[in-house]
């Protein structure tokens, strides 16, 4: 029995005890996956699992704390669940976690840019580290490694760190944790002036839709975000770079020590702004300062919720 069949059988077993199970199904075309809320066995039959299943479904969990929910997670998504548990935002007893191995998640907007024809995609298949996209005009094959989401290189967990049922095995071919984020590397190679220009340039095309915030599983203030308040007036309604960039700082600082680098912020951005690098940088500094990684240990205390009288790695200025 294939892994997918095994998974479907298990979901069907659990379904009577649950309000629903969250997975993925095909979206508007064969390249697009979309979250799938399964309530019936027929729903389960529509389930898919492949590198197109990029969405981190744990985003939906804090909003359904009192429901009994089953959820499908990849390695990196599972860290979100651990972090939510650490913060007491979800109830473990109400949750059945189906853990899946990940061989990388595809950046669909990158693929759409790479293939020459913007027309209709008829079929997408995977073989030997490649993704083959067919259209009426012909087909093109891209190396999977070239079209993965930027989170894939830096997140080292191909297998879930928490699960009730685990399926499949770690595929070492996956790119998980194989390197540093290209965007962050590029930024760090720049001068201060270049970095300043970089952010002004990229933030300029932000449309303030807040998809980054709403897709973020750790943005748990939901309808009560300080970015939306008029008093205090953190941000004005103007759509200038100052407001847009400042919002990113609000998001980033509120994620300090909590961000599990699932990359939903950047994936959700309709204008493809490389905002994950800010979170990645913050996580590097947190690792360096506090030797801490978010969403790995359900018992750990997030670093900004605690302190040490003598900090090992903070070198204060002498004046």
């Amino acid at each position: 029995m294939s892994m997918l069949e095994e998974l479907k059988t298990k979901i069907k077993d659990e379904l009577p005890n649950l309000d629903w199970v969250i997975g993925w199904k095909q979206g508007f075309d064969p390249l697009q996956a979309t979250p799938h809320f399964m309530r019936t066995e027929q729903d389960v039959d529509q389930l898919i699992y492949n590198p197109l299943c990029a969405q981190n479904l744990a985003t939906f969990l804090p909003g359904m704390k009192d429901k009994k929910v089953g959820i499908l997670v990849k390695g990196c998504d599972s860290r979100t669940i651990v972090e939510l548990l650490q913060e007491n935002l979800i109830t473990r007893e109400n949750l059945v976690i189906f853990g899946l191995p990940c061989s990388g998640a595809v950046d669909v907007s990158k693929v759409r840019k790479e293939i020459d024809s913007p027309g209709r995609i008829t079929e997408v298949t995977f073989d030997g580290g490649h993704i083959r996209i067919s259209t009426k005009q012909g087909s093109s094959s891209l190396a999977l490694a070239d079209v993965l989401l930027p989170k894939c290189r830096t997140n080292p967990y191909a297998m879930p760190v928490i699960a009730d049922h685990v399926f499949g095995q770690e595929e070492k071919a996956g790119p998980c944790g194989q390197g540093e984020s290209p965007a962050l590397e590029a930024l760090e190679a720049m001068s201060l002036e270049q970095r300043f220009d970089y952010w002004q340039y990229h933030m300029d095309r932000c449309i303030r839709c807040y998809a980054c915030r709403n897709a973020c599983p750790m943005c748990v203030c939901r309808d009560h975000c300080i970015a939306d308040t008029r008093d205090p007036h953190w941000l004005s309604q103007e759509t200038d770079v100052q407001q847009k960039w400042m919002f990113q700082l609000i998001h980033v600082m509120h994620l300090a020590g909590r961000c599990t680098e699932c990359g939903e912020c950047e994936r959700a951005c309709p204008m493809d702004i490389p905002i994950l690098s800010l979170r990645q940088k913050l996580n590097r500094e947190i690792k360096d300062l506090f030797d801490y990684e978010a969403g790995v240990d359900p018992e750990a205390v997030p670093p900004l919720l605690t302190f040490k009288v003598e900090e090992a790695n903070i070198n204060e200025r002498g004046w």
Binding site: L192, Q200, I286, F307
Partner: protein
């Protein structure tokens, strides 16, 4: 007096009510001369210092931001400054990625009796900011520029 000839820069100081704010007062009462670039915002504790105050200050035209509170172990609320130290260190380390020199932001500890020390801190920090010059201005539209010129 300004420590420097020519134009003042904009420095925002976030000071703890229980120590550094008193320390600045002590320096004043003792008539210790200080540069005048600093504008002070009084906080109940450095634990109230949201790192976003610093980013917002820099984004809206400040050239430098200084936070000063009670010495570690001396917090009026026992541990406010311990939390602050972690947050502020982290925020400081994020600055270079945004294109701001890390030296535009410092946090330090000055008690209410340390008038002399306050003088040293303000003078050193102001010197440091003048060495760096005006900070880059975020999204400076012609209107904002005009408004800022008008405000002097």
């Amino acid at each position: 007096m300004s420590a420097h000839d020519g134009r003042e820069l904009r420095i925002i100081g976030f000071l703890c009510n229980w120590c550094s704010y008193g320390g600045a007062d002590t320096a004043g009462v003792a008539r210790l001369s200080q540069p005048t670039d600093l504008r002070i915002v009084r906080l109940p504790c450095t634990g109230r210092m949201d790192p976003l105050f610093m980013f917002k200050s820099l984004f809206t035209g400040a050239d430098g931001v200084l936070v000063s509170g009670c010495h570690p172990r001396d917090c009026h609320y026992s541990e406010g400054n311990f939390y602050a130290r972690r947050r502020l260190e982290l925020a400081k380390r994020l600055l270079p990625l945004l294109g701001f020199d890390q030296r535009r932001f410092e946090y330090t500890w000055v008690s209410a009796s340390e008038g002399q020390r306050w003088q040293t801190v303000v003078t050193k920090f102001t010197d440091q900011i003048h060495e760096l010059g005006p900070a880059p201005k975020v999204g400076l539209s012609p209107e904002t520029a005009a408004r800022m010129a008008e405000a002097g």
